[in-house]
Amino acid sequence: MADDVKGLSAQLAQDPMSLVFLRLAELLRLRGQLDAAHRIALSGLERHPHLADAHDLYARILADKGDFERAFDEWDMTVRIAPSHIGALKGLAFLYFKVGDVDQAVMHLETARGFMPDDPGIAQALAVVRGGQPAKAAAGPAVGGPGQEAATAATAAPMEDSRVFAGLEGAQEGLLLLDAAGRVLGGALRNPAGQDVTDAVAAYLAGVSQEAARTAKLLGLGTWTGLATEGGGGHVHLAQPTPDALLLVVRDRATPMGRLAIVAQRAAHAARRWLEQQK
Amino acid sequence: MSLVNFTTREITCKIVYYGPGRSGKTTNLHYIYGRVPDARRGRMVSLATQTDRTLFFDFLPIDLGLISGFSTRFQLYTVPGQVYYNATRRLVLQGSDGVVFVADSQARQLDENIESLQNLQSNLLELGIDIRTLPVVLQYNKQDLPRELVLQTADLDDALNFRGVPSFGADALHGKGVFETLKGISELVLKRLSAGSAA
């Protein structure tokens, strides 16, 4: 495969105006060399700003990099240039679904199906979206279609290491460690019915922490150190063990809020240590 | 006030169809809407009463294409004609680049035409717009009605067109004169831009 990259690079060097950048950047993207793919796609786009496939490719790379806002722009642009671009329609559907706008996701997939009625990927994605699942990570790949890798990379699977909170009270339930983008680093959550709700909760927590940070800043409360909530069915404590990570501790109502704060402090300490080890 | 984007080379102008109630202002827009290809027009919005009389305005954006290297777009508005909607008429008139005065050619409507024309002048005055510099054309609509009912265009010119602006006989329902009127006002509005006296 390295040879392919070499060969395609040579072709591109020989003829910078050729469309070979599409294949090269896609290959690099699939190999996870996102920065290189980004560079190639961008310089290709500069030469071919009206090429729908170039915008679509660039969008997939951006999505792989987790830059969904710009990925949206690029797919939006693709559809403006080529309204029947299946890849871009699927990409937009994926992004809409990701933010919970099921109606828009369905609309884009239906449009795609109108252009390509026999595509099994579209039918499958529609089924997932219509299943009414919350916009959680697991649904990403099916909806993402050609951007499958984008989706999987963007919602990186929880790290195997489940020992983040080893030794802590209730280490494997009710403790969740996320990165700044809301991706699960460790721990898991189940709802009172015993279902795994890790991804669904993770998807919302990034927004909560951003709002907590903004609120503290704009109201002159300094840096936020914790957000504690008393719910009808349990108590929750959210904190930032490091500026790039988010820690959630959930306990039933029998655990007093004060005690929860202490558990959260210990868990934050364990999380910091673990994050340090990962570097 | 025409909006000119020098970066993307786009011009947007606002044209208002003015005139007494039931003179055919909305009919002009409907005809244009029906004739212009989909890709060259936006959505037509009508804020009308239940009996289809214009309550606030009708709105139709059309795309004229490239003129002098500028992508040129006109936004056509109508005003409600009934006397009691004057406040609304003045609002719609704000920021207009040109006015098409649609007169009803029926002899018995002459007073209404004159009244509406005076109303246009006083509204422009209130908005601080000088009618002598604002592009205006007249359209004498319903010329298709039996001769004994309507005034001829020359007579209407005598009665209404004391400024000697371009005037067009029309039958807006069937499209006669609609195009010529639009062309007439377009030329005046764009001439103003080319003369460098844009507001």
């Binding site: 919350p134 959550l189 709802n191 009172p192 019915a193 279902q195 709700v197 669904a200 909760v201 998807a203 919302y204 927590l205 927004g207 909560v208 709002e211 907590a212 903004r214 609120t215 503290a216 704009l218 109201l219 002159g220 409360l221 300094g222 840096t223 936020w224 150190t225 914790g226 957000l227 504690a228 909530t229 008393e230 719910g231 009808g232 069915g233 349990g234 929750v236 959930v250 | -």
Partner: protein, 117 residues
């Protein structure tokens, strides 16, 4: 409802030491319903942000299956925001010093929520 119960509700909260302001906020639109604030606290900002954080938190709690929030507390290095959602869609909000007696403020917020319904 007249303004008197609102005033009574806010007074319950502001009498606690370390409380810099109390507010009633419409949860759905993040707008001020009534306020009793010390100089320098921006009511509209508190209302908008408390409303927004409350909504986001509510969604996360729902996803986690732990029901509606009955009280939440955002702790900052220089101050804190404490909130009790009342049944009528109003948030009862306190802006406090960092070292306030959280237990006491919570009780008064719950009491105030009872007053505004």
């Amino acid at each position: 409802m007249t303004a008197a119960p609102f005033e009574r509700a806010l007074n319950l909260i502001t009498r606690v030491r370390g409380v810099r302001g109390a507010m009633l906020v419409s949860a759905a639109d993040g707008l001020v319903v009534a306020e009793h604030l010390m100089e320098g606290i921006k009511g509209p900002a508190v209302a908008a942000l408390a409303g927004s954080l409350s909504n986001r938190l509510g969604r996360a709690m729902e996803a986690a299956g732990i029901g509606h929030s009955v009280f939440w507390h955002l702790q900052g290095t220089d101050g804190a925001l404490l909130v009790v959602p009342a049944a009528s869609g109003i948030l009862v909000v306190a802006v406090t010093e960092p070292d306030v007696n959280v237990g006491l403020v919570r009780l008064e917020l719950l009491g105030a929520a009872g007053v505004v319904g």
